[in-house]
C-alpha cells in the first residue's frame, strides 16, 4: 500500500528544490546517507522521522550551515555549490529554526531587515520605509505585532510570525520550518496552519519538519520519512495513515521499545501535598510508591517542569514534600535525603561540559572517594568504571570529554552518576530528549531497572508514547493543576490529550 511516490512523478513540473545523493558524515556517525528529495513550488513537503533520523542535519544543510560531503542541491533547476547562510538567503531559502533567528534586544523591523537593511541615498537607514514594509508583511500573515517593538517582549508565537514575515520580505521561494510547533499552543498551531496555507497558495515551497504526526497529516501534501540518516521513502499524504507512517518512521514494532512493566510497591516514599509555585503550579498533591514509575504529562506551560523543580527544591514553592516521611527542606537536603534530579537540559544543568565522563560520573560521589579530604584517584577510577558498566556506557568513553559523547551516552552519564548510592526518588525531566531511537530503548530499560531496585521514579515527558510505554501511572497537568490520573490500562494518547487540553469527551 505504501510505494514511494518518487517513482511515479517523473513527468511532474520542474522542482523548486531537489537534493540528490546528499550525504553528511560526523565523527563516528553517518548523519545523512544518500538522501534524495524534491519539493515543488506551492507544495508542503513534510519531513518526519525520530530524533536522530537526520532531520536537523538536513535542515542545517539547507540553511547553508553545513556543507554536505557528497551529493548535489539544485534550486529551480540550477546547481547550487558552496552553500553559505548568506547565499542560501540570497537564493531565496528561508529556514525557520526552533531556536529563533532573532536578536532579542532589537526591534522587529531591525530584525526583519538584518543583513539586508534598506538605505536612503545618503547611506542612512531608511527606517520609515522599512517599518512600512515590515507592517505590511506582518499584516499579510495576520500577525498582530508592532514593528517597532523589541523582539524580547514578543510572545514565542509572535516571534515565529516575525520569522515568517522575514521570509516573505526576502521573497523566499522555499521556506523550511524546523519543528515549528514545538513552541506553540494548539490555537497558535491553527493560526500557523493558516499562514502555511497562505504561503503555499503564493507558490512558495515549504519543507515542514516535524515528528508530530497529527499536524503532519493536516499540513502536508507529501510526506518524506527519514530514519537513521536514510530516506525511507516519500508518499502523498493520502497514501499513508497514522499507523502506517509510524511503522515507516520507527521501522519496527513499537512495543519492543519499552521494557516489561514490574509491580510497584505500595508504600509511598514521596508524598507531595498542596505544592504550589505562584500561578505556574497550583495545589498539586500525590504519592509516589517504591518501585513505581509515575509519569507527568501535559502541554507546554502546564507546569510539568515546574513540578519537577519544585519537588527537588530548585525553585521556591509552598506546600509539603516528604521523602520517606521526612520533610524535604532545601536543595542539598534533597540530595541527602535520597532524591536525584535529571534535568531537561543535559548540557546546561546535567553535565559539566569540557570534563570527562569519569569526572562527571564521580562528581556527586566525591565524599566517599576521599581520604582526609584528599581524592583517591584509584577509588575514583574504580567507581567510574563500575557506574559506566551499570549503564552500559562504553568504557572507551570514560576519558572523553562528555561534550563529545552522543546524546544517548550523555544521558547515560547523567543517570549513571546517581547510581553509586541508589536514590530513593528519581525525578527525570525529559529523559530521552534529543536521543536517537536505539539509545532511547536502552535508557528506558535503565529507568525500569531503577524501578526494579525499588527507586521511585517520577518521569516528566512531552512524549506521549513514552509515557504510555513506560509508566505505571500517569498524572496529567493542565494550567498548573492536576487534571487527572490514568493508570497503565487507561493510558491512551487520546485520554492524555483529553485531560491535558480539558476537552470534553
Amino acid at each position: 500500500m505504501t510505494t514511494p511516490a518518487s517513482a511515479n512523478t517523473r513527468s511532474a513540473p520542474p522542482m523548486l528544490l531537489s537534493l540528490a545523493g546528499v550525504t553528511k558524515h560526523f565523527p563516528g556517525t553517518l548523519a545523512l546517507d544518500d538522501v534524495s528529495l524534491a519539493c515543488a513550488p506551492g507544495e508542503v513537503l513534510a519531513l518526519v522521522g525520530e530524533n536522530g533520523a537526520g532531520k536537523s542535519t538536513l535542515v542545517k544543510i539547507l540553511a547553508g550551515a553545513y556543507a554536505p560531503d557528497a551529493g548535489t542541491i539544485d534550486l529551480a533547476g540550477e546547481r547550487v555549490a558552496a552553500f553559505t547562510p548568506a547565499r542560501a538567503q540570497r537564493l531565496g531559502i528561508s529556514v525557520i529554526h526552533q531556536e529563533f533567528n532573532l536578536v532579542p534586544d532589537m526591534s522587529v523591523v531591525a530584525n526583519l531587515f538584518l543583513g539586508r537593511e534598506r538605505l536612503t541615498r545618503g547611506r542612512r537607514l531608511d527606517v520609515a520605509r522599512m517599518t512600512e514594509d515590515a507592517a505590511r508583511a506582518l499584516a499579510h500573515i495576520g500577525a498582530k505585532v508592532d514593528p517597532r517593538a523589541k523582539v524580547r517582549y514578543l510572545s514565542v508565537a509572535q516571534q515565529q510570525l516575525v520569522e515568517i514575515a522575514r521570509s516573505l520580505l526576502h521573497r523566499s521561494r522555499l521556506v523550511v520550518m524546523d519543528e515549528p510547533t514545538a513552541v506553540l499552543t494548539g490555537e497558535e498551531f491553527e493560526n500557523l496552519l493558516g499562514v502555511v496555507t497562505k504561503l503555499r497558495d503564493q507558490g512558495i515551497g515549504i519543507i515542514y519538519v516535524s515528528h508530530h504526526l497529527h499536524e503532519v497529516f493536516r499540513v502536508a501534501d507529501r510526506i518524506a520519512v527519514l530514519k537513521d540518516g536514510r530516506l525511507v521513502g516519500t508518499w502523498r499524504a493520502g497514501e499513508l495513515d497514522h499507523d502506517g507512517l509510524i511503522r515507516q518512521m520507527i521501522g519496527r514494532e513499537m512495543t519492543r521499545m519499552f521494557p516489561a512493566p514490574t509491580t510497584p510497591g505500595t508504600d509511598a516514599v514521596l508524598r507531595v501535598r498542596h505544592l504550589s509555585v505562584g500561578a505556574k503550579l497550583r495545589d498539586v498533591s500525590f504519592d509516589l510508591c517504591r518501585g513505581e514509575v509515575l509519569g507527568i504529562g501535559g502541554l507546554v506551560g502546564s507546569g510539568r517542569t515546574t513540578l519537577g523543580q519544585a519537588i527537588f527544591g530548585l525553585i521556591r514553592s509552598t506546600g509539603a514534600v516528604e521523602v520517606l516521611g521526612r520533610p524535604r527542606s532545601r536543595l542539598r537536603r534533597a540530595i541527602a535525603s535520597g532524591m536525584i534530579f535529571v534535568p531537561e537540559d543535559r548540557k546546561e544543568a546535567g553535565l559539566v561540559m569540557g570534563k570527562t565522563a569519569r569526572f562527571n560520573l564521580t562528581l556527586p560521589n566525591l565524599g566517599s572517594l576521599t581520604h582526609l579530604g584528599v581524592l583517591q584517584p584509584r577509588h575514583e577510577a574504580t567507581l567510574a568504571r563500575t557506574l559506566a558498566e551499570r549503564v552500559e556506557l562504553p568504557t572507551a568513553g570514560l576519558e572523553r570529554d562528555v561534550a563529545l559523547l552522543s546524546g544517548g551516552n550523555q544521558q547515560k552519564v547523567v543517570i549513571g552518576k546517581w547510581l553509586a548510592r541508589p536514590p530513593v526518588v528519581a525525578v527525570l525531566d525529559e529523559p530521552t530528549r534529543g536521543i536517537d531511537v536505539g539509545a532511547k530503548a536502552e535508557i528506558y530499560s535503565h529507568i525500569r531497572s531503577l524501578a526494579t531496585r525499588g527507586v521511585a521514579v517520577l518521569m516528566i515527558s512531552s512524549d506521549l508514547i513514552e509515557l504510555i510505554g513506560m509508566c505505571d501511572r500517569i498524572l496529567v497537568l493542565k494550567d498548573g493543576a492536576l487534571a487527572g490520573e490514568l493508570d497503565r490500562r487507561a493510558a491512551t494518547e487520546e485520554a492524555i490529550i483529553r485531560l491535558a487540553t480539558g476537552a470534553a469527551a
Partner: protein
C-alpha cells in the same frame, strides 16, 4: 519575560527599587543624574554657576570620548581595556613630535588618529582572527602600549603647541569649544549607532552573533569596526589630554578604561553586549564627572574618589544582574506533546 514577571512578583522593597531602575532604561540614569544635580545645587552654592558648569563640561570631554568608543565595543559584545594606555601613548608621541611647534599640529594630529585606529585594528584582528577573548586581547594590549610609553620616557616629555593649549580656554557663546566639539562627536556617533547599517549590525553582533552570521552580516568586520571606533576615540581623547596637561605624561591615561566602562554601564549599556544607547552612556559620563566635581567643590579628600568609583562600578553592575539562565528558563524551550491538535 519570565524574568521580569518573576522579579515583579517578589515583593521585596529594597531590591525592587534597584530592579525598577535596572532594565536598560536611560531614564534611570538620568534620574540619578538629576538627583545628583539637585543635591549638588543644595550643598554647593557654586555648583550651578556658569564657570562650574563649563568646568564639568571640560572635565567630561576625555571620559566622554573614551566612553563613546567603549560603548560601541560593549554593544558589539566585546570590551576594550586598552583605551587608557592608548591615551597615554598618543599623548606622549604627540607631545614629542610637536614639541611646542604650532606648525607640526597639522600632520601630527592625523597621525595620532591613525595610530589610534591602528591599535583598534590590531585589537579587532586578534579578537576575530585568532579568536582570543576580547578582554585578554585588549588587556594584553594595555600592557604593550604602557610598556611602549615607558620605553619612550618615565618622565613627562615634550610640549603641547600653544595653538592647542589655547583651545582649552576658547569658547563659543560662552560654551567651551572643546565641549561643543565633543557634543558634535556624540551626536554623530549616536547617529551612526542608531541610523546606519553599521550601527544596527553592531547591536545584532553583540546581541546574537550567530543570528547575525546566519543573516549574512559580516560579523568579524562589524566587530573590527567597533574596535577601530574605540581606538580612534581614544586617540582623540589623547589629543585632548595634551590640551589639558600641556605635555606628554606617561600616566595620563592610567585607569581611564575602567571609568569609561563604568560610565557606559551606568548608562545602561550591557556588559553582555547588544544592549544600551549612547544617550544613556552620556548620562553615565555626566554622573561620574558630576560626582568628581562635587567632591572637589565640597573639599572631600580626593583619596575617596577612587574607592567611590570602584563602589559605583560594582553597584552599577549589580543592579543589572540577571538571574542565571538555568533558573530563568522560558517555558518556550520545552517541547509540546503531539496531542493538542486532535
Amino acid at each position: 519575560m519570565i524574568t521580569r514577571s518573576a522579579a515583579r512578583s517578589r515583593p521585596r522593597a529594597a531590591l525592587s527599587v534597584l530592579r525598577a531602575m535596572r532594565p536598560g532604561t536611560e531614564a534611570a540614569t538620568f534620574v540619578v543624574l538629576a538627583t545628583l544635580v539637585v543635591v549638588g545645587a543644595a550643598k554647593a552654592p557654586l555648583f550651578l554657576s556658569a564657570a562650574n558648569l563649563s568646568n564639568i563640561g571640560l572635565l567630561s570631554v576625555t571620559l566622554g570620548l573614551l566612553t563613546i568608543g567603549e560603548t560601541f565595543v560593549l554593544i558589539g559584545g566585546g570590551i576594550d581595556m586598552s583605551i587608557g594606555s592608548t591615551v597615554t601613548l598618543t599623548a606622549m608621541i604627540g607631545a614629542i613630535l610637536m614639541n611646542g611647534s604650532n606648525g607640526a599640529v597639522d600632520w601630527v594630529l592625523p597621525l595620532l588618529l591613525a595610530l589610534g585606529c591602528a591599535i583598534g585594528l590590531v585589537n579587532g584582528l586578534f579578537v576575530d582572527i585568532l579568536r582570543v577573548e576580547p578582554f585578554i586581547v585588549t588587556f594584553g594590549m594595555l600592557f604593550v602600549l604602557q610598556g611602549l610609553a615607558q620605553q619612550i620616557s618615565l618622565q613627562p616629555v615634550g610640549e603641547t603647541p600653544p595653538a592647542m593649549v589655547s583651545f582649552y580656554t576658547a569658547t563659543w557663546g560662552g560654551v567651551p569649544v572643546a565641549v561643543v566639539l565633543m557634543a558634535l562627536v556624540w551626536v554623530v556617533a549616536a547617529l551612526v549607532l542608531r541610523q546606519t547599517r553599521f550601527g544596527w549590525r553592531v547591536y545584532a553582533v553583540g546581541g546574537r552573533s550567530e543570528v547575525a552570521r546566519l543573516n549574512g552580516v559580516a560579523v568579524a568586520r562589524t566587530r573590527l569596526g567597533t574596535y577601530v571606533v574605540s581606538g580612534a576615540m581614544a586617540a582623540l581623547a589623547g589629543m585632548f589630554t595634551l590640551v589639558v596637561q600641556g605635555l606628554g605624561n606617561p600616566t595620563a591615561g592610567t585607569n581611564l578604561e575602567f571609568l569609561a566602562i563604568t560610565a557606559a554601564v551606568l548608562g545602561g549599556v550591557s556588559l553582555a553586549g547588544g544592549r544600551g544607547t549612547l544617550v544613556g552612556a552620556l548620562g553615565g559620563v555626566l554622573i561620574l564627572t558630576t560626582i568628581t566635581n562635587l567632591l572637589q567643590l565640597l573639599h572631600v579628600n580626593s583619596f575617596y574618589t577612587q574607592p567611590l568609583d570602584g563602589a559605583i562600578i560594582i553597584l552599577a553592575v549589580a543592579t543589572r544582574l540577571r538571574r542565571p539562565a538555568f533558573l530563568a528558563r522560558r517555558p518556550a524551550t520545552s517541547s509540546i506533546t503531539e496531542g493538542r491538535h486532535s
